[in-house]
């Protein structure tokens, strides 16, 4: 079953002819992902790699191929527009990899997709992968993944890889690994993904990786305490980060003083997470979390 992406996922790559888009579209196809269409305005009618049809608009791609998920590699100045285009074409899922989108563009894009059926993952994320369905949508190295029953959700790309790699090294695998992205405005938060993992019969336990800033981890912890049934291991990056030279007070006011690594670790521990002190211990911490709930790794 897995979450978000699986064997029924048919992908359109927005920005398929750009350097990042073409490189990663090829990588995804080699992994086994059903890439059925590409979009680059002005290049409609061409073929990518001699087989994937390119369209001028997402709407055309949907009509011709029945694609239901988009992955966006469009450069930052145009990426928010591409997200809105994907939502307007009524895709189930849009995964935006692009890093460096202006925040105000994302504020508008998020408002726009609010009334649509489309779920956005990212931006500034590694993407989503379900190894059991050979479905990799994003920039993660496919070979470190293995089909299995551990869910991974993370704000940080490379830390997701750390978690996945350790899970695989311990002989377990992943049901789905989701990078939700580190930007201040993103489409899907921890709670959204944890809900899906909670309801997924093929996910036994979860690793959640957060970082300092914002209050998404604290909110997730509160939700987990009240609702989450499965073993969960956690890590927060940034315990050693210096307080930083600040201009004003607004950042601290808006978070109500939350957002430090210590606050987050405390909230997550209280909610029943088993916390790793270093990312090197993510795998073993997960095993400990599973043991505590009577599960064998």
């Amino acid at each position: 079953m897995s979450i978000l992406v699986g064997s029924n996922t048919k992908v359109v790559v927005q920005g398929i002819t750009g350097s990042a888009g073409s490189f990663h579209a090829k990588q995804c196809m080699e992994y086994g992902t059903q890439v059925v269409a590409g979009v680059t305005p002005g290049k409609g009618g061409q073929l990518f790699e001699g087989k994937v049809p390119i369209f001028d608009t997402v709407e055309q791609a949907v009509k011709a191929t029945g694609c239901n998920t988009s992955v966006i590699f469009v450069p930052p100045p145009y990426a928010a527009d591409s997200i809105m285009e994907a939502a307007d074409a009524k895709l189930d899922l849009a995964i935006c990899i692009t890093e460096g989108i202006p925040v105000n563009d994302m504020v508008k894009a998020k408002r726009f997709i609010g009334g649509t059926k489309t779920r956005l993952i990212g931006p500034n994320c590694p993407g989503v992968i379900t190894p059991g369905a050979k479905c990799k949508i994003g920039i993660m190295p496919g070979h470190i993944h293995k089909p299995g029953r551990i869910g991974v959700v993370s704000r940080s790309g490379t830390l997701t890889y750390e978690a996945v790699f350790q899970v695989t090294s311990l002989g377990m695998g992943q049901s789905t690994a989701v990078g939700i992205g580190g930007d201040p405005v993103n489409g899907t938060n921890f709670i959204d993904v944890l809900k899906l993992f909670n309801d997924d019969a093929e996910t036994d336990a979860v690793i959640m990786i957060g970082e300092i800033g914002g209050s998404a981890e604290e909110e997730a912890a509160a939700w987990v305490q009240a609702n989450f049934k499965k073993p969960i291991a956690g890590f927060i990056a940034g315990a050693s980060a210096p307080p930083g030279k600040r201009m004003g007070h607004a950042g601290a006011i808006i978070s109500g003083g939350k957002g430090t690594a210590a606050d987050k670790v405390k909230a997550m521990t209280a909610a029943g997470y088993v916390m790793a002190a270093s990312p090197s211990e993510l795998g073993t911490t997960l095993v400990e979390a599973m043991k505590r709930k009577g599960l064998n790794a």
């Binding site: 460096g100 994302m106 504020v107 890889y161 030279k245 201009m247 808006i254 003083g257 990312p279």
Partner: protein, 386 residues
């Protein structure tokens, strides 16, 4: 990116946010001239640095005559100003802003920034100004009035009225405050600001509403469409190494420790620093080489780390996703040779093309200590500096 108060006020003025009259100067003579030109009974001499808390640090003084303005300016120019927000090293004052004195009736706090929880721009207003505002937010969050702006329609008059009456404003001040906020919202959105803070916003005895201070931060990712704002950058306010890093599109923050770090991904870079501390060491820097680094970028990153004389060992921790391990390995070797590396180098590589990367490092002939995981890498680096 940050700008100075006087630059923020130029932007305010352009968008119709009322500010006192003022003149930017760089010499004591010009400060005297500016005070004469303003012609008010008193003027305020304000040090221009990228940090708040200037008043308490001695960076804001009142002059009762142009001569006194000159005298104050000559003392303030060149001084190292230390405030709660500068850190212990302080900032050297090179620019002053001479501003007309006003009859202040009351002071308020007004801040505008993104609320991550709602993904909307949010106004925050309070009758409590000053540094204590953060304490108030923590202990009495209800004393901070908020208005969350729907990006589809912008800041609405009713939101301005709600804030104004909440702050206890009356009569003409209410309408003036509403216009003030609407202009400020336009300025925030059109300049791609990430923070606007006015501490204090004032009402005068004649009933006007003005921004007595201005702090503006901008979204670096949007600067490409604001050439005029990008030009306001004051390199003197930035750490020279951080400025150098920006040239190569590297995220670098200088710290106090002895172990230089080069990592890909902000999360992993933070986690690497955390792990160094966990095993008893101190990181010398935060450095994220980013997702799509080239050999040149890795070389630049390496030079940047080694330019710090307190670095006694370097830890490279790369989990290759977009980035291929062989590219990293080549960059590390090229840089190590170019700078004639003299400190121990611990490298942990994982991910795409990892075997090829490890082979390149092994065959380089350089004294590189390999590590299989992050904790082991941190332990080896810490052992190397002890």
């Amino acid at each position: 990116m940050n700008i100075h108060e006087y630059q923020g006020k130029q932007i305010f003025k352009k968008y119709g946010v009322p500010v006192p009259r003022g003149i930017m100067v760089k010499t004591a003579e010009d400060a005297e001239k500016a005070a004469k030109e303003l012609g008010t009974k008193v003027v305020v001499v304000k040090a221009q640095i990228h940090a708040g808390g200037r008043g308490k640090g001695g960076g804001v003084k009142i002059a009762k005559s142009p001569a006194e303005a000159k005298d104050l300016a000559s003392k303030m120019l060149g001084m190292i100003l230390k405030t709660a927000q500068t850190g212990p090293e302080g900032r050297k004052v090179g620019t002053l802003y001479i501003e007309e004195g006003l009859d202040i009736a009351k002071e308020y706090y007004l801040g505008v920034t993104l609320d991550r929880a709602t993904s909307r721009v949010t106004f925050m207003a309070s009758t409590e100004g000053g540094v204590e505002i953060e304490e108030v937010a923590h202990t009495h969050p209800e004393k901070i009035l908020r208005a969350s702006v729907d990006p589809a329609v912008g800041f609405q008059p009713f939101q301005g009225r709600t804030l104004a009456f909440g702050l206890g404003l009356t009569g003409d001040q209410v309408g003036k405050f509403v216009k003030f906020c609407q202009a400020l919202y336009t300025a925030y959105v059109e300049t791609d600001a990430s923070l606007v803070e006015i501490n204090p916003l004032i009402t005068t005895k004649s009933g006007d509403v003005l921004a007595l201070d201005s702090k503006m931060n901008f979204d670096d990712n949007a600067l490409y469409r604001h050439g005029d704002i990008a030009e306001m950058r004051d390199v003197a306010e930035e750490d020279p190494r951080e400025a150098k890093a920006k040239e190569f599109d590297l995220a670098y923050i200088a710290l106090e420790g002895t172990i230089g770090c080069m990592v890909n991904g902000a999360g992993l870079a933070m986690a690497t620093m955390d792990t160094i501390k966990l095993v008893g060491g101190q990181p010398a820097n935060f450095l994220d080489v980013g997702g799509g680094a080239t050999k040149e970028k890795v070389t630049a990153a390496f030079k940047l780390i080694l330019a710090d004389p307190s670095v006694k060992a370097v830890l490279v921790n790369i989990f290759g996703g977009i980035m291929k391990c062989d590219v990293i390995a080549e960059g590390v070797i090229a840089a190590a040779k170019e700078v004639q590396l003299k400190v121990p180098l611990v490298v942990r590589l994982e991910g795409t093309n990892v075997e090829l990367g490890k082979k390149i490092l092994r065959e380089s002939g350089l004294p590189i200590t390999p590590a299989d995981n992050l904790r082991q890498a941190a332990e080896k680096a810490v052992a190397a500096v002890k």
